[in-house]
Symmetry: C2
Subunit: 119 residues, 2 copies
């Protein structure tokens, strides 16, 4: 039995989880991965329930983390395009694996909930 004094960080995937699965990041990355390079307003419409403030916050974070690039075109009106990076693309197999897991196991989760709630 391994013992540790820093148990929370003893979960080796915690940093990656914080990075990849913080709120709005998967829908944004999914949109960029699926529909390709697109403008701010396109993302805003696709993620219909997001506000511009939050979308900006998340895009900045993703840009800082190297998962997304931001390209500014100094025109009138201004045009900004966001695109997923190779580093962001490298998450695709993970997302696919998660989608497969969900296809196979989400029904079991709902079944478990029904059983649990029936008490």
């Amino acid at each position: 039995m391994i013992e540790t004094d820093d148990p929370e960080l003893a979960c080796p995937i915690a940093p990656a989880v914080d990075l990849v699965f913080s709120r709005w990041t998967t829908p944004i990355l999914w949109a960029l991965h699926t529909y390709g390079r697109q403008r701010f307003v396109q993302l805003e419409r696709r993620l219909s329930s997001i506000t511009p403030k939050v979308l900006t916050q998340r895009l900045r974070q993703l840009e800082r983390d190297g998962l997304v690039t931001r390209t500014y075109h100094p025109e009138v009106p201004p045009r900004v395009e966001y695109e997923i990076t190779p580093l962001g693309q490298s998450l695709a197999p993970l997302f696919a694996g998660l989608a497969d897991w969900a296809d196979e196991n989400l029904p079991k989760v709902h079944e478990a909930r029904a059983v649990f709630d029936a008490r």
Copy 2:
């Protein structure tokens, strides 16, 4: 180009993300997966920064979702043991994949942050 009116849910992994990567779930599942069946107080000590209230909340949620079982032994003092279910175990390959991704790519993320912050 596919178009949809429900863009947030157009991210097919969103439900699974909510289920698996909500706060504290990965450290708890990791502890149960790594160290096996254990008591409430053992989990509490391993996740040193968690409070009993939150630990209870998360364990109930995991139990309801079928990822964890709770076994109550009516003794004095009472003894309760938690164990990961086969459904919970089915997440192991996903977690391993995430760990591999982190090993290879977290350094790149930190590098990207350093570059970004240097402006």
